[in-house]
Subunit: 213 residues, 2 copies
């Protein structure tokens, strides 16, 4: 789980773009494209060609002047940059609709992410297979997190229960939390929490389309 080598840091602003490039490149690789110029990439990714060249040049020179970038090389590089070498183990709490959607998400493995545990408080869900894991009771959380070496915890429960789940995850020794509950969870400074608020995405979309009219 540690960044292995002397890679440069990627800032908060740049990382989403890197992930976006990776999406594009993976699609290009699947359609057997071998090289692509920053100009072509720009059209697909909707990001300026300047920006793309700057971003990629940060990791070293792997573009061919006169030709462009080698697709499969670029893919390997980007996967490397974002750190997919070591597997990252994920535990999810709350096997509702959202939780199930995440557990059944395809394509994690190729990117070094895997679910190793899932928890719920509903007796009816315990023992069921969801994605690749069997749902456990939330009372097992601490034990299971340690046994399965969980690195990241996902909160996919209702806003009411989010803080309680966060506390349990932290108590179990987890330092990184992805929070899907539409509420602020408070945690000690050493814990990294990333909030994903689905309704905020809608609000942002509405805001920007309305403004641009």
């Amino acid at each position: 789980m540690n960044r292995s080598s002397n890679e440069k840091k990627v800032s908060d602003v740049v990382l989403p773009r890197i992930l976006h490039y990776l999406r594009v490149i993976q699609q290009l690789a699947r359609s057997n494209m071998t090289t692509i110029s920053s100009e072509e990439l720009s059209k697909i990714a909707n990001i300026s060609a300047f920006q793309i060249r700057k971003d990629l040049a940060n990791f070293g020179k792997f573009g061919q002047p006169g030709t462009g970038y080698d697709v499969s090389n670029l893919k390997r590089y980007l996967l490397d940059v974002i750190g997919t070498k070591e597997m990252c183990n994920i535990g999810l709490v709350g096997v509702g609709n959202l939780g199930s959607a995440l557990l059944n998400y395809k394509g994690f493995d190729e990117e070094g992410l895997q679910f190793v545990a899932a928890f719920d408080k509903e007796e009816s869900k315990i023992g069921k297979l969801c994605g690749n894991v069997i749902v456990e009771h939330i009372n097992n959380l601490k034990e299971s997190v340690q046994k399965n070496n969980v690195h990241i915890g996902i909160i996919a429960v209702s806003a009411n229960n989010a803080q309680m789940v966060a506390d349990k995850l932290i108590e179990a020794g987890i330092f990184s939390i992805l929070n899907f509950a539409p509420t602020i969870v408070s945690t000690p400074k050493e814990i990294t929490v990333r909030d994903v608020d689905l309704s905020n995405e809608l609000k942002a979309l509405r805001y920007f389309t309305a403004v641009n009219k």
Copy 2:
């Protein structure tokens, strides 16, 4: 759906913070807090007090020197800034786990968002009630979108089908799309697409926690 008055534009960088403040303020309002200082807000929201004051001062002066901000005033203001006055009608395509999670999401109404239609291609789902809407066949999309005056379309189908769905939404007259499928959809310039890639959030979390160690 148009921004009503002479409000200042909020940039791409600032909007997420505004939405974050709003979350905090809504929680404070629920716990009957009446005023809060930028310093206290800073601790809860994990954003510097300088930043908060700058952001809020952009919308006018509604802080009381020596006291702080009035919680319910601030809430009203922020809701106004992000444009919750007019209802925004949403249509969703793909009533799988993720789609169902979105349709059942609580708290949209208060923020001026409502689902007015949902579509799927599976016969078994057609006619079922999900959240507040009845699932229709995707062949009805164009007709239903126009009848229900849908402003925003959500793509919650698999990567394979995302482009097809995007095309249908655009053909039905929609200009704003929120895409949850882990793939790039290509659209004409006048269409606004916002991608939400759940796996990217995990990757970003992993990256930043690994780097900070």
